[in-house]
């Protein structure tokens, strides 16, 4: 800790007003419901958030299965009724029917199977990109908040740079530099989104670091690193979870955008983004089903994450009246 503690943070601790004894309206000694049980109870009342949670669950289940299938070499995964890459000119451009729920595309591939399989890309980008952002953000944010001073200034100014640049352009640039392909997309998105996690966690860190249990750890001889990552960070995570939910939604959209522009996932690997780009021309010819379903899949999935994220934020806001 630097010597230049400003007077604003100088704590003649709590003694300008000695703590009131007990707190009258709190049932003293009662078992509070626990941090998560209370959040869940509030969340349950938010229908939209529950719908979001449902969507997320479905999405993750499908995506996970598809990823496992991909890794183990099963082409269409466990769920797709048809091989998503199987070309069949005979049934091309067929509208939705009982045998092909979402119809077929311009070379006869089953749109339903493709849509399903593309979910793995979205899930992967969500998880990998956000993980990269978290790794960076949850390392720099707490350090910035805890040390303050020069460290804080430097890190936050760097974060400001990342905030200032138009996000999509930045990602575009990075992907162009790295080359197309989905892993680069994931990395690019992850590298460029860390700043918001850092800032959000830093906010909570600023108040957590003044808590007495942090001083206790110091008094016991804990190293700064131990304090920051063992004590401060775990107690600063509450708003981060909301960001994660939103962040996954955002990453999915960004990947879709990149793939739509042609610099993300390359065909024939199916991604909702490149499907949307691919099938756009066929709208005019009246073959709406090819375009519609990937769009719907994208919108519904992202909506799920966003509304769950919103619900989570409301549920964890202590000031929000129930």
């Amino acid at each position: 800790m630097t010597d230049t503690e400003s007077a604003a943070s100088f704590a003649e601790p709590q003694l300008d007003s000695p703590l009131p004894v007990g707190s009258e309206n709190e049932p003293v000694g009662a078992q509070p419901l626990g941090l998560w049980a209370d959040t869940w109870r509030r969340l349950r009342r938010n229908k939209l958030a529950l719908v979001g949670l449902g969507i997320i669950t479905v999405f993750m289940a499908i995506g996970l299965l598809e990823i496992i299938a991909w890794v183990t070499g099963i082409h269409g995964g466990y769920l797709a009724p048809y091989n998503p890459d199987a070309v069949n000119y005979g049934i091309a451009k067929a509208p939705p029917s009982l045998s092909h729920w979402f119809g077929t595309d311009y070379i006869g591939r089953d749109v339903f199977s493709r849509t399903l399989v593309a979910s793995r890309i979205s899930l992967l980008v969500g998880v990998i990109a956000v993980s990269i952002s978290l790794a960076l953000g949850l390392a720099l944010g707490p350090l910035s908040g805890y040390y303050g001073g020069a460290v804080d200034s430097v890190i936050m100014r760097v974060a400001d740079v990342f905030f200032a640049f138009p996000y999509i352009l930045f990602v575009l640039l990075l992907v162009v530099v790295l080359g197309p392909g989905f892993t680069n997309v994931f990395i690019a998105i992850g590298l460029l989104s860390w700043a918001s996690y850092a800032r959000i966690v830093r906010g909570t860190v600023l108040s957590v670091k003044t808590q007495e249990y942090i001083e206790a750890a110091k008094a016991a001889g804990a190293s700064d690193l131990r304090i920051v990552f063992g004590h401060v960070l775990p107690n600063s995570m509450a708003p981060v979870y909301v960001s994660i939910a939103m962040g996954i939604g955002g990453a999915i959209v960004t990947e879709a955008a990149l793939s739509f522009l042609g610099i993300g996932v390359q065909p024939p690997t199916a991604s909702w983004g490149n499907m949307i780009a691919d099938y756009l021309n066929y709208l005019q010819a009246g073959q709406w089903w090819m375009e519609l379903f990937p769009c719907l899949a994208l919108v519904i999935t992202v909506f799920g994450f966003i509304s769950f994220g919103n619900g989570l934020r409301d549920a964890t806001d202590p000031k929000l009246k129930e």
Binding site: E5, S6, F10, E12, Q14, L15, D16, A217, G221, R226
Partner: protein, 336 residues
């Protein structure tokens, strides 16, 4: 046998303002504090808000860096100690905090919290640490089955006990108690005070007991130091201070404390101080107490802070920082 010696300790916080965050002033939180504590005794550090007592406690432990002054524990210079030396010192000097709702990490189990100092200093195996935790829980009046629970499952008094158990984990010799009972209910305060006294006897501890509640401080301390605006204005044996206070601030402080005895309250002579406690960012010139002092004389009181020294030889090691302290005859102590 003096275990802690504090000489002329100072802690000034810079006040930063403006776009460039330039230092426009200073908060003189602790401004030349000196005292010593003998092994096994309890020194009470008492005063109102802004007097610097809590800051002193933290600076002593190097939880905050000092601006000036020396602190020596058992002869070792705490301020100048190297990282390794400081780690060793941490095992000897511990602290118990005020707020039972903020002094424990809410995400850790009680066992984890109490064992952490042991883990930090790499003491014992996992099994030995577990045993020590149970031992400590018992020492503070809790049971082993409390070890796997979380702080929010306990009441304020119990949490405070857990804090004490944690402070004892490293077998310290000196414990700084920073308002350990202020946030507790009256009936629980008494439990905690008794616990601290018992522990002191059992484990031969030395306490620096920081509090604003004079009744509690008098009860538990061997000697008491009264602080005002960053300085010690009087220091004496506990019993002597309350019967023969010499400094006008001490007198006013004692007179202001309500006593739970209606008859006594009705018959008391009360000295009500005028005005507010000035801010440590803007201390008065000369004697820091002079604006509120009933005995103030422009010369010397506005010119220089009186030194803390023994003026009344009848009171033993009774030091006071005043130009016009109350004198007591050896035969007739003044009434309160």
């Amino acid at each position: 046998m003096s275990i802690l010696e504090v000489k002329d300790l100072k802690k000034h916080f810079p006040i930063k303002s403006g776009l460039l965050k330039r230092t426009t002033g200073w908060v003189y939180a602790v401004d030349g504090v000196s005292f010593s504590i003998d092994e096994g005794e309890t020194l009470g550090l008492v005063g109102e808000s802004g007097c610097g007592k809590s800051t002193s406690g933290r600076v002593l432990l190097r939880l905050l860096p000092a601006t000036a002054g020396t602190v020596s524990f058992d002869g070792i210079d705490v301020m100048a100690a190297s990282r390794t030396a400081l780690q060793r010192l941490r095992r000897d000097m511990q602290i118990v905090f005020q707020d039972p709702y903020a002094c424990l990490n809410p995400r850790r189990t009680v066992k984890n919290i109490i064992a952490e100092p042991l883990r930090i200093h790499d003491i014992g195996t996992e099994a030995e640490r577990k045993r020590r935790v149970f031992e400590l829980l018992e020492t503070v009046g809790l049971t082993a089955e409390h070890a796997e629970r979380y702080p929010h499952e306990f009441s304020g008094g119990q949490r405070q006990r857990i804090g004490v158990a944690r402070a004892l984990a490293l077998n310290p010799r000196l414990i700084i108690c920073d308002e350990p009972v202020s946030a507790l209910d009256v009936s629980i305060q008494a439990q905690m005070i008794n616990l601290l006294e018992d522990l002191q006897k059992e484990l031969k501890l030395t306490y620096l007991f920081i509090a604003h509640d004079l009744s509690v401080v008098k009860h538990i301390s061997t000697r008491v130091a009264v602080m005002y605006l960053g300085k010690v204005v009087e220091i004496a044996d506990s019993s002597v201070l309350y019967i023969k206070p010499q400094h006008p601030y001490t007198e006013a402080l004692l007179s202001a404390v309500p006593i739970p005895d209606p008859r006594t309250e009705r018959e008391r002579r009360r000295l009500i101080l005028e005005g507010d406690v000035p801010s440590p960012a803007n201390p008065p010139s000369g004697c820091v107490f002079h604006p509120r002092c009933p005995r103030m004389q422009p010369d010397p009181c506005t010119k220089a802070m009186p030194p803390l020294e023994v003026l009344d030889t009848a009171g033993g090691d009774h030091k006071v920082a005043c130009y016009f302290p109350t004198r007591y005859d050896a035969q007739a102590p003044a009434g309160a």
